[in-house]
């Protein structure tokens, strides 16, 4: 059967907050837009974001975007690009008002203004008193944003391809992206979407690790597609582990628990955060708390028969407080950990939460194919959201800055695409060889016979990543991890599907996802092995200090022979003075 083809001005892969906000700009400008999503758009992972979105509105405490910028640069451990950060923090304010205008039901103060919550890492006056910067729509912020953007896209006549799986980018001999091969999950039939411009907005890759807070769909597909198109990923060694996931399961126990007075204890009942962060204690930044937990466990102070986790104590809090302020936590702990936190502490361990690295883009969402910072971007290819690296989070992301990132850079990418399409009105000729290569990758899964199952190799891979490229990273252990993952990559050839039907073949989809996970996993493991310093979420006990002279630079990783290169951090903001690196104290 001939391959079905469709043509659009713009193809957007991903229908989370980033993809939908970009699509809306384009559809409103009357461009022909296709949005492809492997799940129904409002089931994108953005729906899980409950905490909220940061903007220096100053509704509760004094605030301004410059302080927000300072916190973000400091939080990034000086690896964030300061021009992009300035842009994001300035844009935060109109972005939140625009959402409000479009119908996102933000929680309000008695005076009618948007309520703002305080979170770790937010300060007034460049590192002074606690600030309150996070705007939320009750505990459904992500859902409210997705729902609002989806409805508006429907009205603007964006064309959705729901339950289509993007397989590969299609490119010509000059490296220009011509669109993508996608798979209709319901029928198993491939479809070629040709586009003048393509935006990757496929979200994160938490499923790389065994313990993660991310939904099963977060398999780094867009990142791996970029790697297969001979383009690099940037700063993949920076992965944020949320300190408190349900041990062995990954579900998040929110920061709010510690905000309300919950605290961590080891097997002796000691409140160990007092030792690691005397001032902020249990409210220290995520990487500090995560590292402290792993250190406690490694030093033999862990709880449980395997001594492999610590406990989060909340049973000193009033039952009413738990019910009112921490809805869902009690039930979540009961269902997934089998404990009632009103009576017993919750077993917790760091859970892979957010990837700071991703597809390198400039401040306009354009993909940058080389380490030459002044070099050209790749015409027509864009990335935004968690799959991209602008880089506004640097070595560590602040809570509430990610929803902000996806909204600000999703919209900006949309506007830049509009300008690009004005000047590039025609489709480039299709490159059949690239299509055939991608079809061959798909057909490979039709092979029958004896072999490993997808889930066997996936389990082996995710455990390897957790043990060798997780929170705690030392040279030998990591080098061993890289070799192990390379072997796992070879074992992909040994997999045989157990299901060869066409319709809703989850087995085949999961095989494609596993290929993606492994490519992204190697990017993480190799990048981490070579960064010989500790910065932000990347912690090396063998190189415990941040080394600005040598390492204030971004890592670039290519799949071809697992090559690395580096490029300078952009320390010059747009209009204000640069924030020079300072020692971190907690």
């Amino acid at each position: 059967m001939a391959l079905e083809k469709q043509r659009f001005d713009t193809l957007i892969l991903g229908a989370g907050g980033a993809g939908l906000n970009a699509a809306l700009q384009l559809a409103n400008a009357n461009l022909k837009v296709a949005v492809v999503s492997k799940v129904f758009p409002t089931r994108s992972h953005t729906v899980a974001a409950q905490g909220g979105v940061n903007a220096a509105l100053a509704n509760v405490l004094p605030d301004n975007w410059h302080w927000h910028m300072f916190d973000t640069v400091k939080g990034s451990d000086y690896l964030g690009d300061q021009d992009a950060i300035e842009y994001m923090c300035r844009e935060a304010i109109p972005t939140v008002y625009e959402l409000e205008h479009n119908g996102v039901p933000f929680s309000r103060l008695a005076n009618g203004k948007i309520y703002q919550r305080a979170f770790g890492g937010q300060s007034q006056d460049f590192g002074g008193e606690q600030a309150a910067r996070t705007c939320a729509a009750a505990d459904r912020t992500g859902h409210a944003i997705l729902h609002t953007l989806y409805q508006q896209n429907i009205r603007a006549k964006t064309q959705f391809y729901d339950e289509y799986f993007a397989v590969d980018l299609i490119k010509d001999d000059e490296g220009i992206i011509l669109g993508a091969l996608v798979l209709n999950i319901a029928t198993g039939e491939p479809l070629l979407i040709e586009s003048k411009t393509t935006l990757l907005a496929t979200g994160g890759c938490g499923q790389v690790f065994r313990t993660t807070s991310n939904a099963h769909i977060n398999t780094g597909d867009g990142m791996a597609m970029v790697l297969r198109a001979d383009l690099p990923l940037m700063d993949m060694e920076f992965f944020q582990f949320h300190p408190t996931g349900i041990a062995g399961k990954g579900m998040l126990i929110t920061e709010g628990v510690r905000g309300e007075g919950g605290y961590l204890i080891n097997k002796d009942g000691d409140r160990f955060m007092e030792k690691y962060a005397p001032n902020a204690k249990d409210l220290a930044s995520r990487d500090v708390v995560a590292r402290s937990i792993v250190t406690e466990v490694r030093d033999g102070h862990g709880c449980g028969p395997e001594a492999d986790h610590v406990m989060l104590k909340v049973n000193h809090l009033n039952e009413d407080v738990i019910a009112k302020r921490l809805p869902g936590i009690r039930e979540s702990a009961k269902i997934f950990a089998g404990v009632d936190p009103v009576k017993d502490p919750i077993p917790v361990f760091p859970t892979a939460h957010y990837v700071m690295g991703g597809i390198p883009t400039d401040r306009f969402g354009r993909v940058m194919p080389t380490a030459d910072d002044d070099g050209d971007h790749l015409p027509g290819l864009y990335a935004a959201g968690e799959c991209a690296c602008a880089s506004v989070h640097g070595a560590n992301r602040l809570g509430g800055n990610s929803l902000l990132d996806i909204l600000v850079f999703g919209r900006l990418a949309g506007h830049n695409i509009i300008d690009y399409v004005k000047e590039n009105k025609t489709h480039r000729p299709l490159n059949e060889a690239s299509v055939e290569a991608s079809m061959a990758r798909l057909d490979r899964w039709d092979a029958k016979g004896e072999g490993m199952t997808v889930s066997q190799l996936r389990n082996e891979f995710r455990k390897t990543m957790e043990d060798h490229a997780g929170v705690f990273r030392v040279e030998d252990m990591m080098a061993e991890g890289v070799e192990k993952v390379k072997k796992i990559r070879k074992k992909l050839n040994d997999i045989r599907l157990t299901d060869h039907t066409r319709t809703f073949n989850t087995n085949r989809t999961e095989a494609l996802e596993l290929e993606n996970l492994i490519d992204v996993g190697l990017a993480i493991a190799v990048s981490a092995l070579h960064r010989k310093e500790s910065r932000g979420a990347h912690s090396r006990p063998d190189y415990p200090k941040r080394d600005d002279a040598e390492w204030m630079k971004h890592t670039l990783y290519w799949r071809e022979s697992d090559k690395l290169d580096y490029k300078d951090v952009r320390v010059q903001p747009l209009t204000v003075e640069s924030f020079p690196p300072k020692e971190r104290v907690y």
């Binding site: 992972h45 729906v47 992500g142 997934f336 989809t509």
Partner: protein
């Protein structure tokens, strides 16, 4: 939503519908589908198919937080989902 009798047996489709935006729902719904779906009465199977159309925060509120479904019709289904063994 029209549900045909043939839809009730389409486990492959339902398995993909259990892919959600929240890990909690992935784990709970997939476990329920694998462990209990086959044994449900045709009436409850229909309820499950309808139920999967609800937005994630609604399913979360019912299945994780234990809020009662506004619609009594779903109460029986939700309580069996909540009883699924995942800890």
């Amino acid at each position: 939503m029209i549900i045909h009798n043939s839809d009730l047996a389409d486990i492959d489709r339902l398995r993909w519908q259990c892919r959600r935006g929240m890990l909690e729902l992935d784990v709970l719904l997939e476990a329920f589908l694998e462990q209990h779906y086959e044994a449900l009465s045709p009436r409850l199977k229909r309820h499950f198919i309808q139920f999967l159309e609800f937005p994630d925060p609604v399913i979360h509120a019912w299945c994780i937080r234990g809020e009662s479904p506004d619609d009594d019709e779903f109460a029986e289904l939700v309580s069996s989902i909540r009883a699924t063994e995942v800890a």
